[in-house]
């Protein structure tokens, strides 16, 4: 990935970051539309305050914060809708563009990870953040981020091992 700091145009910057940001937002909200709302709000907030894109950990921190606010705010609506569509099949919106069964299995394994490990994995693999940046975005230490990442990979390996 090119150094993001070299992008002066928000459009280029957004196009490059958006898929990873959406994937990160979807750790908390299952709906792609809700995730897009969260990413939009976070990106506009980040850009408007003229944050240096080199400090992109702040952008991910904003996505996380807005997503958690969204969950709290939306709790009642979700409960109401959950009772209304209890019998209906929930729409499945894939997090990844899958090409074969191997990738489907891998994506399912990622989805099954504990949340704290999954968010570190998402930031590391699909957003290219360093452990230091991940620590800044999630409010944890660099060592904790590295440790969670290692646990995530270990768990994935166990899950994907042929029985």
């Amino acid at each position: 990935m090119d150094p993001i700091a070299s992008h002066e145009n928000w459009r280029n910057c957004f196009c490059e970051l958006a898929p990873g940001l959406l994937l990160f937002a979807r750790q908390w909200v299952p709906s792609a539309a809700d995730a897009e709302d969260i990413v939009q709000e976070a990106f506009v907030k980040f850009w408007r305050r003229n944050h240096n894109i080199e400090h992109r950990a702040l952008l991910y921190a904003a996505v996380r914060s807005i997503a958690l606010d969204f969950i709290r705010r939306d709790k009642r609506r979700v409960l109401r809708e959950a009772t209304a569509v209890a019998e209906a099949e929930p729409p499945v919106e894939p997090h990844f563009e899958l090409e074969d069964d191997t990738q489907s299995a891998l994506a399912a394994a990622v989805d099954s990870l504990p949340c704290d490990q999954r968010e570190v994995l998402v930031l590391k693999i699909w957003n290219d953040l360093t452990f230091s940046e991940i620590g800044g975005a999630l409010g944890i230490s660099q060592n904790t981020a590295a440790s969670r990442y290692r646990y995530a990979l270990s768990n994935l390996k166990k899950t994907l091992q042929p029985q």
Binding site: W10, R11, F14, C15, A18, P19, G20, L22, L23, A32, E36, V39, Q40, F43, V44, K45, W47, R48, E93, P94, H95, F96, E97, L98, T102, Q103, L106, A107, V110, L121, I125, W126, R150, L153, S154, L156, K157, L160
Partner: protein, 176 residues
């Protein structure tokens, strides 16, 4: 190369779902609104600025109140000290209140109630010829503490002013 390198490569091959095409337009609109200064987020920052102003105003008023209180306490303390000095003077001499002070009486105001002039030092400075005069004069310097009292007959409140003064008396000397 670590034990997870292969797994990491496999994970990187997974491509996250792309955002919908309208998201870019929505972000552009939101940023345009921000430039125009009409974004809700911009508006939400204004109360923060106002809050700062109110904080500053509050601190300013509190500081002013403290200063006023300090000044009042200091003045009261000085007044009490003045009273103590006047009352403890060893050789007090009762004096009539000046006539012009008496004339300023009013039922609703303070009326003069008396005055003292305590001479605590007198020094004879010898003979002098004052301003080209051919006759010498003896110069005597008196250092005194004068105190004046007023009283409000309606409320019973009293006011006392005490201050030091210095008086030089020239006494003509006649040749024998």
């Amino acid at each position: 190369m670590n034990e997870f390198s292969e797994l990491e490569n496999e994970l990187r091959k997974l491509r996250p779902a792309q955002p919908s095409p309208v998201l870019l337009e929505r972000v552009e609109e939101a940023l345009e609104e921000c430039k125009a200064g009409a974004s809700p987020a911009t508006q939400s920052r204004m109360p923060s600025g106002l809050a700062n102003i109110w904080w500053s105003l509050g601190f300013g008023l509190a500081a002013a109140a403290v200063l006023i209180l300090f000044a009042v306490v200091t003045m009261e303390h000085r007044r009490e000290r003045g009273e103590t000095i006047a009352q403890s003077s060893p050789a007090s001499e009762a004096r009539a209140v000046p006539r012009e002070m008496e004339q300023s009486t009013s039922p609703s105001r303070f009326v003069p109630a008396g005055g003292t002039n305590v001479v605590y030092n007198a020094r004879d400075e010898g003979l002098h010829f004052a301003d080209g005069s051919e006759r010498p004069v003896r110069r005597v310097r008196y250092q005194t503490q004068q105190t004046w009292r007023w009283r409000n007959p309606e409320t019973g409140a009293s006011l006392r002013v005490s201050y030091p003064s210095e008086e030089i008396v020239l006494i003509p000397v006649s040749g024998q």
